[in-house]
């Protein structure tokens, strides 16, 4: 990890007490541009009336488009009941004491049913295979602890969510070896790229323990094709490694029919030795717009992983209060069906608005069909097609346009000039203003 060796200290001379490698390491990545833009936003946040020329946050993948649906549900249904469950206030007692890492059965059943609904019933989820964690961040880290030892590697297709560098590596000591994808085939994973990544790891004497994908992809905003999933599973079987599918945006696919979950592929497989290498991560932070609740899950087809993850989840339990509140909401199928449908529709419209708006400004995006962001190509604006060139452009966009967007290099994209732009964490009016600023910038560019 490249840090100075810890020396034997004599008792009195240098009395500054030592910290661990984990504490001093910069694997948390918060010095990267991905986070630097956030700091700029924190210092000068756009606000419609009070600060209209402030920085617009387009680097945070948060879903605010369907808050009204949540609000009307919470106001209409007996809120008292949701707090305590069917027992009403006397249910508080169990709620206050409940800290079983199995999680509330009613909540797991509600999660299983919600996940099934999102996949249009094309896969079934067993509530007893659901392990609850305080967010998908914790779920990904936990799975990494379970599937890999320090210095082992997970293969992750690029471009990928910058947070993985921290979530998968920081405390676990596990490495990430990238599977390089490029725009020639819309950044889809190819068998050749998989083999190459595996070989790269082997050449460096690194043991590969699994492949971790995000489906739909962050930052691409596109679903992974069924054929690719099948190839992936095949690859994992041949190499005898795990397959983790982070499906945190599965409910944010604009047209439900375009999403294939790895669960559907596994549904038709009986062979345990194939199934049990597959694990799915999910959360309510994106689809339900509830990141503040800290609700994540690991769904595993491997009994051993379920058991182990459950025990390890003591370090990251979901509050009983949260489980109780959400259990009733998620098992209300009428509500969830309506929510999922309307949410998809609104995201699709937002996506179309931004892509159209960018097109009018002469900017192309990758054809996307999911998520809270689009993958924009500004390669033609770079002075040099290098990381420095990309970061220079990013800096201009941040300082001049006051837009915080995420540069592709922070997502380890091997092609320079791509940027992830989030569109669901703001009002339509704010989105218009952002597009206007981009238009004006592009007009100024062509003026040269």
């Amino acid at each position: 990890m490249g840090l100075p060796l810890m020396m034997e200290r004599s008792s009195n001379n240098n009395n500054v007490v030592e910290l661990s490698r984990v504490a001093v390491s910069d694997t948390h990545g918060e010095d990267s541009p991905y986070f630097a833009g956030w700091k700029a936003y924190d210092e000068n946040p756009y606000e419609e009336s009070h600060n209209p020329s402030g920085v617009i946050q387009m680097g945070l993948a948060e879903n605010q488009v369907s808050f009204d649906l949540l609000e009307s549900y919470l106001e209409k249904k007996n809120p008292e009941g949701s707090m305590w469950g069917s027992k009403g206030a006397p249910g508080f007692r169990e709620n206050a004491l409940f800290q079983d890492y199995h999680g509330l059965k009613s909540f797991r059943q509600a999660m299983a049913s919600f996940m099934q609904q999102i996949r249009g019933g094309k896969a079934r989820f067993d509530p007893d295979r659901i392990v609850l964690t305080a967010g998908a961040t914790a779920a990904n880290e936990l799975l990494t602890f379970i599937l890999a030892d320090p210095n082992d590697a997970l293969l992750v297709p690029t471009p990928y969510y910058p947070g993985f560098d921290r979530d998968l590596r920081w405390r676990t000591g596990v490495r990430i070896v990238p599977i390089h994808c490029d725009s020639s085939n819309h950044f889809q994973i190819t068998p050749e790229a998989l083999e190459q990544a595996y070989q790269t790891a082997r050449d460096a004497n690194i043991r590969v323990r699994g492949v971790l994908i995000t489906n739909p992809s962050n930052p691409l905003g596109a679903t992974v094709q069924k054929k690719v999933l099948e190839d992936l599973l095949d690859f994992c079987v041949r190499k005898n490694i795990h397959l983790v599918s982070d499906e945190i945006y599965s409910g944010s696919v604009f047209h439900a029919s375009e999403f294939t979950s790895v669960a559907e592929i596994v549904e038709n497989i009986d062979d345990v030795s194939v199934k049990e290498r597959v694990h799915i991560v999910y959360s309510l932070s994106k689809d339900l717009g509830l990141p503040g609740f800290r609700v994540g899950t690991i769904y595993s087809y491997n009994d051993n992983v379920v058991r182990t993850a459950r025990r390890m989840s003591s370090f990251t339990l979901v509050s009983s209060q949260t489980q109780q509140l959400l259990a009733s909401m998620l098992s209300d199928e009428e509500f969830t069906e309506k929510y999922i449908r309307i949410n998809r529709e609104r995201l699709r419209r937002r996506y179309e608005t931004i892509v159209e708006g960018l097109k009018k400004a002469g900017i192309e995006c990758l054809k996307g069909n999911a998520g809270l962001f689009c993958w924009m190509n500004l390669g033609f604006l770079l002075d040099t097609k290098t990381k420095e060139g990309e970061l220079a452009l990013w800096d201009v966009i941040l300082k001049e346009l006051k837009l915080n967007i995420s540069p592709g290099s922070s997502c380890h994209c091997s092609e320079y000039g791509w940027f992830r732009v989030c569109f669901a964490n703001m009002s339509e009016k704010t989105l218009d203003i952002a597009l206007k600023r981009i238009h004006e910038f592009m007009d100024r560019q062509s003026g040269f």
């Binding site: 910290l19 661990s20 001093v24 914790a138 030795s273 509050s319």
Partner: protein, 500 residues
């Protein structure tokens, strides 16, 4: 494949009678195993014990071709096995046959879980009057409910308001002579992640913490599992009422160094668990001086600070650290509301550190275990209701004191003494007079008899690394007054049957 299936599920199924005899057999089996393990280090690659292993066993595979069973990491493998500590065995056993004073009078009475239900009436009243308001914040725009106040991403270390509320609360319950700075505080989802995050920040894999024993069995899991940090017990004796001494710390440290172990810090609980001691200001001072001299960290787990019922005054290590004689940056405090406010289900933990870089690292680690925003809103409201908190804490302390008196008196009548304690939700009971042999083996046999014959789950000292056999931790704060004579009667019967 699993040797012990989830007991609750099985017992509730059809196999009642069969399982009823299977369970004690399995438990005896595990006890023997546990004893074997404790007596001598296990031989490497010992496969003679049929504990469930990871899925790498090729005999389980039906396909004739070359697909292997996929493996988990070596650090996950120990977690796949059923827990072998009597602490967990006892907790699991109660689940199979829990006592209920109306519906299951012959069930196993739980004395192994440090939880209090004594003031639920007060909490429930507060919740029914205030919960909705504290959660359903009004929108400025239309006065309707604004879900964004609880739904959106917030700083993972906790809202400033919740840290302010905790700082204020902790100051009040810890005697009022110590103040906590909210910017040194990080809020997390429980005492368990609080301890683990601190361990990750203060020690590397393979380093160690000194820990006065007997200690809380959960620390083995909380500290060691993922960090790889070792715990080195520093044995305390009944002659000192199990209070740690500097000479014991010295000895443990030099032995550790001889073995090549790097000690990064001292971890202790105050009030102590399982004994229930309140550490005096002098002892705290001595521990901190020792740490300063050896240039190591001090972690003070003060999770029972508000559950003090004796005459001795509780002093926080934060107060001693701030007294000016020491380099404060080596001092770290853990707190949470699971014990003092009876809210373990909510998952509330606090890391308080005087070291800027530790606070900074801990903040970043909170993304893995942060407290949900709705819970923060509830706690802001609850902890700042000073009138209610005063009423609650006074009742909490009084009711523990009363229950403690009844319980200890009951044991006294049976000729069973307890260690002196002034805090916590339990007492440390000397049952050595009931042992058939004054040894670890004798103690574990008594533990099993208590479970299967007297039907009481009490945590044996061995699980807490107590060096003197015969001590048991009994938690009494989830008992009704009428449960106590039932318990005493059962112990009496057990005692009589062992002498006959």
């Amino acid at each position: 494949m699993r040797l012990i299936v989830p007991l609750q599920g099985v017992v509730q199924g059809r196999g009642g009678l069969f399982v009823g005899s299977l369970i004690p057999c399995c438990l005896f089996y595990f006890l023997q195993l546990y004893l074997k393990r404790r007596r001598s280090p296990p031989p490497p690659d010992s496969d003679s014990t049929e504990l469930p292993r990871t899925s790498s066993r090729s005999s389980l595979f039906t396909r004739g071709n070359s697909i292997g069973r996929v493996r988990v990491s070596s650090r996950a493998a120990p977690l796949a096995k059923p827990p072998d500590s009597p602490y967990y065995i006892g907790l699991d056993r109660v689940k199979t046959d829990p006592y209920h004073r109306v519906t299951n009078r012959d069930g196993i009475i739980q004395l192994g879980l440090a939880e209090s239900t004594l003031c639920f009436d007060l909490l429930q009243r507060w919740m029914s009057e205030n919960l909705m308001e504290s959660l359903m914040m009004q929108s400025d725009v239309d006065g309707g409910f604004d879900v964004s106040s609880i739904a959106m991403y917030q700083p993972f270390e906790g809202l400033l308001e919740v840290r302010v509320a905790f700082a204020d609360f902790m100051s009040r319950i810890m005697g009022g002579n110590v103040s906590f700075d909210p910017s040194n505080m990080v809020i997390t989802a429980g005492g368990t992640p609080a301890v683990e995050v601190l361990a990750f920040c203060l020690a590397d894999h393979g380093n160690a913490f000194l820990i006065p024993s007997p200690y809380y069995p959960g620390f083995d899991r909380d500290i060691k599992f993922r960090t790889g940090v070792e715990l080195i017990p520093v044995h305390c004796r009944s002659s000192d009422n199990f209070t740690v001494t500097v000479s014991a710390l010295e000895q443990a440290l030099s032995q550790a160094r001889k073995r090549g172990s790097k000690v990064s810090g001292i971890l202790f609980s105050n009030p102590s668990n399982p004994v229930g001691n309140i550490l005096s200001r002098e002892t705290l001072h001595a521990i901190l001086s020792f740490a300063q001299e050896k240039n190591i960290h001090v972690i003070s787990d003060e999770i029972f600070a508000g559950s003090v019922y004796g005459d001795k005054e509780f002093v926080s290590m934060a107060e001693v650290a701030a007294s000016g004689d020491f380099d404060k940056s080596r001092v770290h405090i853990i707190y949470g509301l699971s014990k003092d406010l009876s809210l373990p289900g909510f998952r509330t933990g606090v890391i308080y550190s005087f070291h800027e870089d530790v606070v900074s690292a801990a903040k970043k680690l909170m993304r893995f275990c942060s407290m949900p925003v709705p819970v923060q809103r509830i706690l802001i409201s609850l902890l700042s209701d000073t009138r209610f908190i005063e009423e609650y804490m006074a009742a909490h302390r009084q009711r523990i004191r009363d229950k403690h008196f009844l319980f200890v008196e009951g044991l006294k009548q049976l000729g069973i003494p307890c260690a002196e304690s002034g805090g916590g939700l339990y007492c440390w009971v000397d049952m050595s007079s009931l042992l058939t042999s004054y040894s670890e083996k004798g103690e574990l046999e008594l533990f099993e008899k208590l479970l299967s014959v007297a039907k009481i789950n009490a945590t044996p000292g061995t699980a807490c690394y107590c060096i003197e056999p015969g001590w048991f931790r009994c938690c009494f704060t989830a008992l009704a007054d009428e449960d106590i004579p039932v318990i005493m009667e059962r112990i009496k019967l057990l005692a009589e049957s062992s002498t006959s």
